[in-house]
Symmetry: C2
Subunit: 206 residues, 2 copies
């Protein structure tokens, strides 16, 4: 009687990964409330109960994504950045940071959108991302600026404000790319980094 399509039975871990991947795709384009569990299941190629075998609820599934991304630590570069600060090499410092940020947007703009959604929708784990990435980023930059000011190599500027200004210069390019998509950021990435860092370091005026 049943003409069931004989779906391939994946081991739990693979199925879970497949669900997460499809979820990122959908949540990033429609937001948490814009995605139904039915649509998600269909996109994975299974039925709804399968989702609930791997995640307690729609919310838990969403939080699994956020946590996964928030915990992706960028701490490998921390030591390198500190070396640049100690060496007083602002050029290298800001170039690395800008490259990091733009790469993050380019590699998977879906996460940029998803995190933007989560921040707007006020999900708790969104704060986690802020603490573990944005705030830490500001910390790195302010420390670098303060260090350079002490050495007399940089003009005295409110450090947090200046850090945000740099973050804005870079992230805005990525944001426009992830949301409005005019032009291919990936291709021009290197030029963007070069121009923005140059602008930030030396100023636009002759």
């Amino acid at each position: 009687m049943s003409a069931t399509a004989a779906r391939p039975r994946l081991p739990a871990s693979k199925r879970r990964a497949a669900i997460l991947d499809a979820a990122v795709e959908l949540f990033s384009s429609k937001g948490f409330r814009g995605v139904t569990t039915r649509a998600l299941a269909a996109s994975v190629g299974v039925t709804e109960p399968v989702l609930y075998q791997h995640f307690a609820s729609k919310h838990a599934l969403y939080e699994a994504i956020l946590e996964m991304k928030a915990m992706e630590a960028p701490f490998e570069v921390e030591r390198e950045l500190e070396r640049f600060t100690e060496a007083g090499d602002s050029q290298a410092f800001f170039t690395l940071l800008a490259t990091l940020i733009l790469n993050w947007y380019c590699e998977d703009p879906r996460y940029a959108r998803l995190l933007m959604y989560s921040a707007l929708e006020g999900h708790e784990l969104s704060d986690l991302f802020y603490e573990r990435h944005v705030a830490i980023f500001y910390g790195w930059v302010t420390r670098h600026i303060e260090s350079q000011v002490r050495r007399g190599k940089m003009r005295r500027t409110p450090p947090l404000l200046a850090a945000r200004a740099f973050a804005g210069m870079v992230a805005h390019q990525g944001l426009i790319y992830a949301i409005y998509h005019p032009g291919d950021l990936a291709a021009s990435r290197k030029q963007v980094v070069k121009t923005v860092v140059d602008l930030y370091l030396q100023g636009i005026m002759k």
Copy 2:
């Protein structure tokens, strides 16, 4: 039998305005899909059919907000900006622009959130805002930069990229304020404008 609370009967125009105001509040905090017509009606203090007397659908109501905001032309300042460009006064030019942007975020951060939502959710009228504000902004700045480069007063820099960098420096501060809300932007607005414009114009290095 009926214990109806004898609601005040507003003239259509006032009721319509009240609905729009409550709608901005709700849509900006929960997004289009996060707001139900029931919740909106309750927030206005009426019942659902009243909403449908003023707007054909939930979508039409939302688009009325977007159109209202997109059409709010900033063209009053256009002539002033052009004068600054002609006079070669970059200081005044960028100060006015930065003030404009930050004021926009401060006056009503709800719209910043609402427009962010609409961009993510891909509403058609979101493009209208991009065209009528973001793209026009880029146009002003690129023209100013090109003009200054021709006069030899500014370093040769990819104009659109430089325009976006400036937009990012300023808007990022507003965005952080509208979304994560750490600190009071309104109070420090003037210092932010001063610092950012100074940074952009003269560069951070001594």
